[in-house]
Subunit: 340 residues, 2 copies
DNA sequence: AGTGTTTGCGCAATCGATTGCACATGAAGC
DNA sequence: GCTTCATGTGCAATCGATTGCGCAAACACT
């Protein structure tokens, strides 16, 4: 009873050739057939409980209806909504998603990419691209559609979906300036990542636009986008610039590291120093004080990545290959107008 | 140049039959061959850059080296570490992971399970099982190995990996009792989920063990494991039991809902009321006050789930089919000894 | 030396669906 | 009434790897 139903069973049932069933089941090829046959095939397939064997179809056609995503860390609250949005966009069109976690011990991550290519994925999403990334090369020469998400590449060789990082930081800086702050410093992210680089550039540009001219000492680069990396960076920065009244962090985790550094020094946030993050991760509204930040809709980025990739796979794409989403400012309790 | 290398190419190169190459490449079947042949095949495969076609192998052998997981919400901080741990365990042994997000609009979620079965996954992980779950039926009759994680089923028909919920709640209750609390109430989770049910039972049992006898009014069931559901439940509970000095929440998100309810009523935590959660999600150490909770290692649960499932798939399993991990108490600022 | 057994590898069928091509049927054109 | 086409369906090869079976050579044994 649990015998698996194949296309032949359906063909026998209806009294047609298997190839006819194959065509009837494919909406794109359906119209080459007579309407009554199609109807009978569909009905029989339904009744017998036919499920196409993806492996067989994939072997013959070369298409797997599978998309791979490589992420640095699935559990990172930045990436999980991206995966979620992506999965939503893909499954709506019959594609499934393979998630590969980037092991830190494989520099470049070609390994995961190779694995996914060996699995004959129809497309690939890279959520971990560095500014110059070897994995991108591999995809390019494997002729496989690929979209970068969250982080872009140095040269825009491949499509990407990112937040407007420069604009986001500008939002943060302008918010502080509007509150009267002038001595504003920046905890930057790793400069090997587009997010780290662009946010730093954005910081400098926004400050200049306000007539301020930050120098090297106003910026400290954290080695990673983590709380752990944020703490020493913030310590160093606050030591160099004890008169700073506000800190712009390149992301929320770094901002939390700044919180810790301030606490160590017995300085209060926001009374002594305002702090603003970036991303608006879950729960940052509940930390103390509630973190002001710049909201990026990672879920939406995931969905748009999926849509773009599917268009690329089916060859129906038109429109921009570089999608940029607009961040919005979320002011909470960690920033306040400068007193006096 | 980018021509894909098949097993035939390798065979021709070495001067043996394709079947020999197939055997030489499989460690399990390798020992049936002569050592020099194996060596030459391996060398040639490496040199030519041979990558097995998973679709073809899957079609013929019926094994896909693919495992599916169904989760209620990828972005939920409870599930993402599970996925992460699972992926780690699987990829170490050459399996890839397909993630399917459970749409709320499909009651029972058989749909996702069907999709995964149609993709010929070798095994399935269900992270969303209700106490009586139709999806489990499907897996059972599809004869496909399945492991439940995080939530167990009512009857233990299938293997599962869960935290010891009763023990966890006991930890929480005992911690409060040791701090002098007596009027302790419980915000329970949905009773249709094993986590909700067991934690509630655990609460009652632990209280009784301490010589206290909680009644219905000391417990309020939230409709979901969310902050949003926690708020009204906490409101109702605190209204019924205004003299309560401590609240045990069935998970951290509910505990945060309790925070909000207390704030509404102008009561302070922990001075007026102690609150303890469950799970130790990321960032709950940074909320105000830092949340005392019971730590569950979801990442570890994911890894053990993967190991168990692989054993089941390869038929090499021995040992328990119901794995229970031990939670630990994490006391932070939201609980304090009862004054006076 | 002859028989029996093991070892090592080739042969060919097979998994289930897709697809280029061939062919039959009926309609249309002159 | 015969050629020309269009339309709808069947035929069979094919994708790449796996695997049961069979056979030959090498070895063991009396």
């Amino acid at each position: 009873m649990a015998a698996v139903v194949t296309i032949k069973d359906v063909a026998r049932e209806v009294g047609v050739h298997p190839s006819t069933v194959s065509r009837a089941l494919d909406p794109a090829r359906r119209d080459r057939l007579g309407e009554p046959v199609v109807r009978r095939v569909l009905e029989a397939a339904e009744r017998l409980g036919y499920r196409p064997d993806v492996a067989a179809a994939s072997l013959r056609s070369g298409r797997s209806k599978l998309v791979g995503i490589v992420v640095p860390d699935i559990a990172n609250p930045v990436f999980s909504p991206i995966i979620s949005g992506l999965e939503r966009a893909l499954s709506a069109r019959g594609y499934a998603l393979i998630v590969a976690d980037q092991r830190p011990d494989y520099a470049g991550g070609n390994d995961m990419v190779q694995m996914l290519i060996a699995r004959r994925v129809d497309g690939l999403v890279l959520a971990n691209a560095a500014l110059k990334d070897g994995a991108v090369e591999r995809c390019l020469q494997a002729q496989i559609p690929v979209v970068l998400v969250n982080r872009a590449e140095g040269q825009a060789r491949v499509p990407s979906v990112v937040s407007d990082d420069m604009a986001g930081i500008t939002l943060a800086v302008d918010h502080l300036i509007a509150s009267g702050h002038r001595r504003i410093v920046h905890v930057a992210g790793p400069q090997s990542l587009s997010t780290g680089l662009l946010r730093r550039r954005g910081f400098v540009a926004a400050m200049r636009a306000a007539g301020l001219d930050p120098d090297e000492d106003d910026i400290e680069e954290a080695v990673a986008f983590t709380r752990e990396a944020g703490l020493p960076a913030a310590r160093a920065l606050l030591a160099r610039r004890p008169d700073a009244t506000a800190v712009v962090a390149a992301n929320d985790l770094l901002a939390l590291g700044v919180y810790e550094a301030l606490r160590e020094q017995g300085r209060r946030c926001p009374e002594d120093v305002s702090v603003i993050g970036h991303n608006d991760m879950p729960l940052v509204d509940l930390v103390s004080p509630p973190l002001s930040t710049v909201r990026i809709s990672h879920h939406e980025m995931g969905e748009r990545t999926g849509a773009l990739l599917l268009d690329l796979i089916t060859g129906t794409h038109q429109g921009a290959l570089q999608i940029v989403t607009s961040p919005v400012l979320v002011a909470r309790g960690s920033t306040q107008p400068l007193e006096n």
